[in-house]
Symmetry: C2
Subunit: 161 residues, 2 copies
Amino acid sequence: MTTQDIAAVPRPERDAAWNLVRERLHASGLRWTPQRRTLVDVLSRTSGHVTGSELVDRCRAIDPATTPSTVYRTLDVLEELGYVSHHHGMDGREEFHVLPIEEHGHLHCRSCGGSWQISPAESDAIATLLEGGRSFAVDRSHVTITGRCADCLAVEAARPD
Amino acid sequence: MTTQDIAAVPRPERDAAWNLVRERLHASGLRWTPQRRTLVDVLSRTSGHVTGSELVDRCRAIDPATTPSTVYRTLDVLEELGYVSHHHGMDGREEFHVLPIEEHGHLHCRSCGGSWQISPAESDAIATLLEGGRSFAVDRSHVTITGRCADCLAVEAARPD
DNA sequence: GGCGTTTCTGCAACTCGTTGCGTCTGGTCA
DNA sequence: TGACCAGACGCAACGAGTTGCAGAAACGCC
């Protein structure tokens, strides 16, 4: 695993955003260390969802001395700065979502494990619906709904079981 | 396999429902063992939400020889029979919900960890909203929305931070 | 460049939950 | 009553993630 081949994602603003990480850390009195650089490096080449252990693995590919506790602690810091967000998948594993440009929720298929985004408008509608009757502020970026996707439904319907 | 058989059971007959567990197991070619009796015993005296490890602890209080793997495997079986349902809390821990009389989702406060039920009507509205635009069958009993409850919001508002 | 402060790291130990495997036993049939 | 066998059990090892602590090092200051 190396610098080049990961997803050919980067929009210009995205790299710019990542370059700001160091400054943001300094501004908060936090430090810029080789270990954090490694993780930011990995994250900057990642799009969509990754689990915590996947990130640990990718960091180890760059620096084999990487330890899990450092990665998870750095992820906490980056989450506080808004560079990643996390939620728990169906199996309870942590899933990190890199650079949430806009707040959105997720649909999660419990059969195939697939994941799709819920549009901000839909998250908003759900939040409004629930907030209407009670005093509760819905965290719009944490809306995760599980069920079964079209493909898995088709497979199940086809199988007489 | 669904919750349908017990969904119609009124609350007074809850104990009766548990007495049926043995028969339901037999009907499925499964066995009634002392370990399962212990867990069913614990569950029959539990309402609302419990974590897996809490259940292990309570079983150990009755039978100190209880092992976690047996408890979790039995919970899987009971979930398949519809006697419990589980979802993952904010911290990724498993949370079991005993005897889901009707399908409902949850509101979860990320500050205090509190949990409230979402009415079936609301779960339904959310499901309808999401299923409208796409091919996806929402699992209505797994709708879990996080945010902050009124109390925690008040506390945060009061603190100048 | 050297120094002091404070954050961060790495390790080890821990929790929660899962899985593989050999052994045991509940339930059935003769 | 005894034998059989699939299902269940207990153990041990594992994976993901967390935490406490002692030592390392980033960074501001002189």
